[in-house]
């Protein structure tokens, strides 16, 4: 099975404090560290596992400046066979539709049976997969937490829905899926793994190579544009209990009693 996985380099927000810069044009990026979007990493692992089971290849594609190469390489160290780095000034400022348009061109140049994206990213909204599928006229399923290859033409997928239930679907290939965390346990990639793939050439493709008309992408074509960043105004918030632990406990018990917090 030929699998394409779309990945994105994002600031690692787990321990980083995301703050807005003084002019509100961006977040403070000086002290941030970046890594591959967590959801995308699960998608790559899933692709590798499928390939190891049924054969084929895994290609990782990422849109971004020169730094994006780092995450492509990391995913190749995990076991992806090929990498494609999409970089062009004309890509900048694209909205979700623009990125989906660029990715569609990549799909058109290949022969992929399965296209995976992460279900979401910390700085995004889980839109590119669904748009890409619609542009390609492929079936789509979001929040996928199980993939079972039935044969060369069909797969069975589970979607995570409310209540922790799983919605099972059968989908014809080729298709696009967005992958939810927890679908697998991604393997570890260390410095050694990355060094092993350090010399592999990752082709860089621009709008020209892809045959994408620049009028359909970039800031000019974007209907949705981010204007600024700001820290949301805090509402009234909770009544904070202060004092010694004993005092807090006493007050809290009183409140809980009043609200029926005891049986």
């Amino acid at each position: 099975m030929e699998i394409l996985v779309c990945v994105k380099r994002v600031p690692d927000s787990s321990e980083n404090e995301i703050e807005v810069n003084p002019s509100g044009t961006d977040i403070e990026r000086d002290d941030l560290v970046y890594s591959v979007n967590e959801w995308d990493n699960y998608a790559v692992e899933e692709a590798i596992q499928i390939r190891d089971k049924v054969g084929g290849s895994v290609t990782v594609v990422s849109i971004g400046d020169e730094d994006a190469e780092e995450v492509i390489r990391r995913e190749m160290a995990m076991g992806a066979d090929n990498g494609i780095h999409l970089s062009d000034e004309s890509f900048e400022g694209s909205d979700g539709r623009g990125f989906a348009t660029i990715l569609k061109a990549v799909v058109d140049q290949g022969n992929y049976d399965l296209i995976l994206t992460g279900a979401q990213a910390d700085d995004g909204a889980g839109q590119v997969g669904g748009m890409l599928a619609a542009l390609l006229d492929y079936p789509y399923a979001s929040l996928v937490n199980l993939i079972d290859v039935l044969d060369g033409k069909r797969i069975k997928v589970g979607r995570e829905i409310a209540g922790g239930h799983q919605e099972m679907n059968e989908i014809d290939l080729p298709c696009v899926l967005s992958i939810q965390t927890g679908i697998n346990e991604p393997r570890y990639v260390g410095i050694r793994g990355i060094r092993k793939v350090a010399s592999i050439d990752i082709p860089i493709k621009g709008a020209g190579d892809l045959g994408v008309g620049t009028e359909t992408i970039g800031a000019a074509a974007a209907k949705v544009k981010r204007q600024d960043y700001f820290v949301p105004e805090l509402g009234e918030g909770a009544e904070m209990l202060e004092g010694s632990t004993d005092e807090i406990v006493e007050k809290l018990i009183e409140l809980l009693k009043a609200k029926g917090g005891f049986k």
């Binding site: 748009m131 789509y140 069975k156 979607r159 409310a162 204007q227 960043y229 917090g261």
Partner: protein, 327 residues
């Protein structure tokens, strides 16, 4: 200015989802003058009941009734909606698992803009809609503009808008089925099979009046004991946030949130839970929320009624002891 705004109504087993009454306020926030049309898809009597219910809130209700919609598959619905909706429509969809499945592709098929996961609108000027979104788990917000002149599909964060409870619209239900299914049922390349129910644990937290809910702040699986001790002293049940289930420390049936259970307790004690919107999305019925978290900046303190800044591993045993003493 759009003349009409369409609101996609979620429902299940004949019950209307909470978001149904929120979308009309979201539409009003975009443009107070626009008329708001509820779009309801499904099949049979249940669908009719939902449409009738919606007519109390929306002046106009569009009904799409098909056997192919007994269980609604986004691939099928998307194709039907494209046939029914007018040119350049503005469509609101709740931002949850179905909305995420349906909407990005719908925007492409309508050749409209896609504006996901909006929490507020701040005006519409010359076709440019200004909206507020959150990024990085709500640590920062952004203003975005969206050109809606050629239509837009906008997903609305559940709970971000107040529900409309006036229920005096006296609206009419229009059957759009014929238009929708003219040309057959689309989306045959993704077929719904079944729902695999989550494993139910020994407790049904959706029926609990008092929940002691534990999050990442518990740090270690062995520390869960102190949470159960506290719950026992209060006569409460223990629920948790997603990281606890991901770590396999508690069963999925105890998870509160959009990907877990929706609970309606009277009192909700959030222990070491930061309060992501996905988690808060699982709490309904406006309970009395007490938040205990060692990070004074945790978003949970914004939504809680009472807050305590403390390490739960230290604080909870003290609280449990004191409650024990009062008995």
């Amino acid at each position: 200015m759009p003349e009409q705004i369409f609101a996609y109504i979620l429902h299940k087993n004949g019950n209307v989802d909470d978001t149904a009454a929120e979308l009309i306020h979201a539409a009003n926030a975009i443009s107070p003058e626009a008329s708001v049309v509820a779009v309801v898809a499904g099949s049979g009597d249940e669908l009719q009941a939902v449409c009738d219910e919606m007519a109390k809130t929306y002046a106009e209700v569009w009904k799409i009734d098909s056997d192919a919609l007994v269980y609604i598959n986004a691939e099928v619905l998307r194709g039907l909606l494209v046939r029914v909706l007018p040119k350049n429509p503005v469509v609101l969809v709740p931002h949850e698992h179905f909305g995420m499945d349906l909407s990005p592709g719908l925007s492409v098929k309508l050749d409209a803009a896609y504006l996901p996961d909006v929490v507020a609108f701040e005006g519409l000027e010359g076709g440019l809609l200004k909206a507020v979104r959150e990024e990085y788990s709500g640590m920062v917000s952004t203003h975005v503009t969206c050109d809606i002149r050629e239509g837009a599909v906008i997903t609305i964060r559940p709970g971000a808008f107040q529900p409309d409870e006036s229920r005096d619209a006296g609206g009419q239900v229009l059957d759009k089925t014929d238009e929708a299914v003219d040309g057959g049922i689309p989306g045959g390349n993704r077929r719904y099979l079944e729902i695999v129910e989550a494993e139910t644990g020994d407790v049904d937290i959706t029926k609990s009046d008092v929940l002691v809910s534990v999050g990442r702040g518990i740090e270690d699986e062995d520390n869960l004991e102190i949470v159960f001790d506290l719950a026992k002293s209060m006569g409460a049940d223990v629920s948790c946030s997603r990281p606890i289930v991901d770590a396999k420390w508690l069963e999925k049936a105890r998870q509160v949130g959009t990907s877990g259970q929706t609970v309606k307790p009277k009192v909700y004690l959030a222990c070491g839970i930061s309060g992501s919107f996905q988690h808060m999305g699982g709490i309904k019925g406006a309970p009395f929320i007490v938040a205990i978290n060692k990070n004074a900046k945790a978003p949970i303190f914004q939504v809680a009624d009472v807050g305590v800044v403390a390490d739960i591993v230290e604080f909870l045993p003290d609280l449990a002891d004191a409650i024990g003493d009062t008995k």
